[in-house]
Symmetry: C2
Amino acid sequence: MATQRILDFIATRRPNGPCLVVDLDVVEDNFQAFRKALPDSSIYYAVKANPAPEILRLLASLGSSFDCASVAEIEMAMDAGATADRVSFGNTIKKERDVAAAHALGVSLFAVDCVEEVEKVARAAPGARVFCRVLTDGAGAEWPLSRKFGCVPAMAVDVLVHAQRLGLAATGVSFHVGSQQCDTEAWDAALADAAKVFADLAEQGITLTLVNMGGGFPTRYLKDVPTAQAYGRSIFAALRRHFGNRLPETIIEPGRGMVGDAGVIKAEVVLVSRKSAADENRWVYLDIGKFGGLAETMDEAIRYPITTPRDGDRMEPCVLAGPTCDSADVLYEKKPYPLPISLTIGDEVLIENTGAYTTTYSAVAFNGFEPLRSYVI
Amino acid sequence: MATQRILDFIATRRPNGPCLVVDLDVVEDNFQAFRKALPDSSIYYAVKANPAPEILRLLASLGSSFDCASVAEIEMAMDAGATADRVSFGNTIKKERDVAAAHALGVSLFAVDCVEEVEKVARAAPGARVFCRVLTDGAGAEWPLSRKFGCVPAMAVDVLVHAQRLGLAATGVSFHVGSQQCDTEAWDAALADAAKVFADLAEQGITLTLVNMGGGFPTRYLKDVPTAQAYGRSIFAALRRHFGNRLPETIIEPGRGMVGDAGVIKAEVVLVSRKSAADENRWVYLDIGKFGGLAETMDEAIRYPITTPRDGDRMEPCVLAGPTCDSADVLYEKKPYPLPISLTIGDEVLIENTGAYTTTYSAVAFNGFEPLRSYVI
């Protein structure tokens, strides 16, 4: 949301061109809300959501750990003050030389989802702890969850047995219920699967201790979402349901839920037009689009709140598009976006709750446009 | 395609990580083929397809003009040796201050598709020549063409009359038949529309002189595509059909057709796995994906040829995915991609005909991965 600090920054600094402004106070509030909602879980911030150094430094100072997708992200987390024991290499798809680089940095917790990956970790990070990601169906999530990560629970058992056999520490299970997951109950089925893997491995003499419950915690876009507290209650109940009194160590990996509502993109209306005199919808073109940081509008998946200086005037559904010469650079067309009919060229609009998955997604130079700038305040 | 020069470069230089290698000899051949196929048309290279300075310098030296989407692209074209009279500001969505910047650089040819844009150009580039883009349906194109650019022909008449009234030179009409357009006849209907706009304006005493026939010329992916010569014959016949003996000045804007087959991406297999013992398809993960330069695999639109060191072995359909922690970073899944069953972790693969719409589309740092590197040889 556009906090007063963000509004003041934009009003005072008048940054030129589209940019993201992130309010660290909101990040801190979100961190404390997660800590309160799930006091027994370790928080591993999903660095990929927004790796701005100021955000990483704040979270490191608050005691957060870090879920990293690459060696570069591990280095960023450690540069921000995290020690290697507070880093998880959470990508299940790693080059062996990157596993070795992480190992050399002291990282000792790795995600795997197949025996092939276990073998890389065993060679390049001998003795490390590994957790195996299991597939979930992602029902209730707004960002599509494919079968890309994880394996079926039965295979996870084999993967972890293999890990133990190769001298790794088979430590636990992870899953992801799908990004922007609005159903607080979504963790239940995955925790049932995790408990089953724990039981199957116990039968083979291997004691797992860790459940990495992933991210998926939503940020508020146009619709209200449950509070961190509601997720905490539901998840804790599911843990008790499936693990009884022997609760495992748990990890959560909020990304969007940590920084999404901490940031606002300031953009400018470049053009408002119609395609014909009889055109039903106006077209509104902004100076930011799908390739400038709003990649999550792909298939109109994420629908951001937008505020304009004309709010309060009569609204009309518009097709909203970006500034590039790519015909795929359209944000909302299948379901047009209501905007004030008085909205005009040069107006400044705020695209809210864009703190996650925007800056780093931005194209490096498509159409000659520079990547999304960001200010963390 | 992987020319011997490209293969030698990769074998000798052993670049680390995924990278694009472009062979300038192929770009030159493509330029000459367009010049021969449409000898009376001016070639405006679509800079957005690949703005590598070496490519721009080569094309400038060969006499090409440049279709630019932004002030940055105009500056790149001029840095490469193009004079301002060989530059078209082809984006219909321009900030007025960018029009002014282009005007200050000497650019005098601008695309418009509505009266609102005409007014910006009239204020910021007084006296400039404008052409109005008309909508076409894009049938036959492999990359989706939305209604984002252009207006209906009846509105184009009003737009150009308005331009003339504001002191601009109403110069002509443009259209785009859709990227990777495999139907050589696709220009016919659009040229009919253009001729109608010419006739309607003639009735109002305005003589148009220019038809910008856009790009759309394909590159060969998995299927054969018609030759530049075939497009040239078909387009020339359509021009004669609709303009008779009074042929207008014409422009073509090849981008993909100029550089697509000049480049090859070298990538590495990071992981090959299955999701369950009974999984029908293996998953093959590369070190490049949708956010690392292969954005045109969106909705599996563009299907690149891929060669591997195991070609000749038995093939099996695979799901092909990128290396990021984003579940949307899957290249081909709905229609799995046949790859050798012996393909294994560490193998180097060549993703062919990736010279266009790859480097600049690449995310700036998603998941901490650096943007696609490129070598132009």
